[in-house]
């Protein structure tokens, strides 16, 4: 049985204009990703893989074309509508972890739930549950500066799951980690995919890492070539 598409990109282009010079980051991208799929977007620097992830992650909108997310056109949504989609349906894991320095692990993880209007107590209960799952039961009250890179990335993974989104997008999740910790983080993401059936999209320039995903989307000059 054919799986339902979670992402459907139709002729998506993104053009940046800086000081009158146009840069085509994406050129008429047509791409579908099925629900529950685990895919890696690969390509050299400047190939458009990060721009593609930002558009698929509703952090940015295309200059032209359409992005259909589970049957809903999100390409012309307003900022707050996009924020709502990100909060409810997409979890992000970034290369530089992007945790809030002044907040503890629990507070960082529970933050997206607080944006949803959920009370501090309930949000923190869920955060504790997820931090336990990613193996950080001993580091819950630590701030990012008191944790290793691997631990911070685990906190980021827990944060990405807090609102139980269907999609996890990871941008170079192992880029700042040593190889052993990188493998641990990838194991954790894959385990998550296996156990929950969430759609996982990884952006990386590391071919070895991308091969762990069943599907590789190779970007070159703003277009998928494979």
């Amino acid at each position: 049985m054919k799986k339902e598409n979670i992402f459907d990109l139709r002729d998506v282009s993104k053009v940046y204009c800086m000081k009158g010079v146009e840069t085509h980051a994406l050129r008429n991208v047509n791409l579908t990703i099925a629900k529950g799929e685990y895919a890696a977007i690969i390509g050299p620097s400047g190939s458009g893989k990060s721009t593609l992830m930002h558009i698929m992650g509703c952090l940015d909108t295309p200059t032209s074309g359409k992005l259909i997310l589970e049957g809903e056109d999100v390409s012309e949504m307003e900022d707050d509508e996009l924020a709502h989609v990100r909060r409810e349906r997409i979890g992000f894991v970034f290369q530089t972890y992007n945790l809030i320095p002044g907040l503890t692990a629990i507070e960082n993880v529970s933050l997206p739930m607080r944006f949803n209007g959920i009370g501090k107590g309930e949000a923190q209960k869920r955060a504790i549950e997820l931090l336990n799952k990613v193996g950080l039961s001993e580091r819950m009250h630590h701030k990012p500066s008191e944790m290793s890179g691997g631990e911070q990335q685990r906190v980021a993974i827990a944060r990405s799951l807090v609102n139980d989104p269907d999609i996890i997008m990871a941008d170079e999740p192992t880029g700042n980690l040593d190889s052993k910790t990188g493998i641990e983080i990838m194991d954790l993401i894959e385990e998550l995919h296996k156990n929950t059936g969430k759609t996982v999209i990884i952006v990386t320039h590391d071919k070895k890492l991308s091969k762990r995903a069943p599907r590789q989307i190779e970007m070159l000059d703003g277009k998928p070539v494979r």
């Binding site: 952090l59 707050d80 909060r87 530089t96 992007n98 809030i100 002044g102 997206p112 944006f115």
Partner: protein, 375 residues
């Protein structure tokens, strides 16, 4: 999300303190100056309220530009005994009360008045803490509480008036308004102390009927070019003019300090927003609405303004206490009313909220992509 705003402020203590400092200074200035203004207004109201509305004050003509205190406090030439006698005979006057007034110690006033006419002076209802009124032929002085505190005297002690030792026979209870600042002696005794030749610094006139006030006033001014006659209404408007000037000064200083504080808030909050661009971007990337960011920045402003305004209020109470007890020897001249206190705190909060709006709008416009990339 209020807890997050508080955590954010606590994690950047220096910046928070610097932001709060501007509001603190502005509110302290407003409350401290406002307390003096309020106190003077109260003093004028309480003093004029205790003197009859139909009373006419007569004194030697003087230029308004020389004025620097309540009526009778200036060094004005005395009205001669002959003129006192002439004025007493003007038709329609029920009672003419000569008063000899002299200043002592910069802020106090000695008034010589017939003890039987003290009701005209508005002191009839005042309670004594110690002693009592002297008889008209007695040589004694009644002191306001602040004067007694200032000279550190009690009943039975003496004070020096015009280099003559005068026995203290009574001291009013405190909180008696402007009467805390006076020394009252019988008219005859004042005449002797100041060698006033039975003249008067001012004459207080009680008309037979209130409708005769204007005609008596014009008659005096027509017949005695060197004299000014002032009704209670004139005195009130003169005092209001003076307190009005002080109010404008208070407003001006308050406005300037507020402006400086507001600019300070905008600068520090803006810096804070720029420094936290990545953090704000992360919040937006993980699903925060623009208004969530806006509210958090305003909440931070609210916490800073409430804390600094309340602290400013506490410090102002301390200042006012110091002004009253140390500088004025126990006077309640500076006064922080509940209206002034609540108004100042609300002003501090509104000022900060308004000044936080611009940085908050900048925060809302943060591009999450640039922020998470660390650009």
């Amino acid at each position: 999300m209020f807890d997050i705003a508080v955590r954010e402020l606590a994690s950047h203590r220096t910046r928070t303190i610097l932001t709060a400092m501007g509001i603190f200074i502005a509110i302290t200035a407003i409350v401290s100056l406002g307390s003096i203004s309020t106190g003077l207004n109260e003093l004028v109201t309480s003093t004029t309220g205790s003197i009859g509305a139909d009373t006419i004050f007569v004194m030697k003509h003087f230029d308004m530009s020389d004025m620097s205190g309540p009526p009778g406090s200036q060094s004005i030439e005395d009205i001669s005994a002959e003129e006192v006698a002439e004025i007493s005979k003007i038709p329609g006057i029920k009672r003419a009360v000569p008063v000899i007034s002299r200043q002592i110690g910069g802020m106090f006033e000695v008034d010589g008045i017939d003890i039987d006419d003290m009701d005209m002076f508005g002191v009839e209802g005042l309670e004594f803490e110690e002693g009592m009124w002297p008889d008209n032929d007695e040589k004694g002085a009644v002191l306001g509480k602040i004067v007694a505190n200032s000279f550190d005297v009690t009943v039975g002690d003496t004070i020096l008036l015009n280099k003559k030792e005068v026995e203290v026979v009574g001291i009013f209870e405190g909180e008696s308004g402007s009467y805390d600042l006076v020394v009252l002696v019988p008219y005859e005794y004042a005449n002797e102390i100041y060698e006033a030749d039975r003249g008067a610094t001012q004459i207080m006139l009680e008309p037979v009927d209130i409708s005769m006030v204007d005609s008596i006033k014009s008659m005096i001014e027509d017949e005695h070019e060197d004299l000014d006659a002032m009704t209670m209404e004139d005195a009130l408007s003169m005092m209001e003019e003076m307190t009005g000037t002080l109010n404008i000064m208070t407003f001006g200083i308050g406005f300037i300090t507020s402006l400086v504080a507001a600019i300070g808030i905008i600068i520090t909050m803006y810096t804070s927003v720029v420094e936290r661009r990545q953090q704000i971007g992360i919040m937006k990337a993980t699903g925060a609405y623009g208004r969530t960011i806006l509210i958090q920045i305003l909440e931070e402003g609210l916490v800073i303004s409430l804390a600094s305004s309340l602290l400013a209020l506490v410090v102002s109470f301390f200042f006012v206490d110091m002004i009253n007890n140390v500088l004025l020897g126990g006077a309640s001249l500076a006064l922080i009313t509940p209206e002034l206190a609540i108004g100042a705190v609300m002003y501090g909060v509104i000022l900060t909220m308004l000044a936080s709006l611009y940085p908050a709008r900048i925060a809302v416009r943060t591009d999450p992509i640039k922020a998470i990339r660390g650009n």
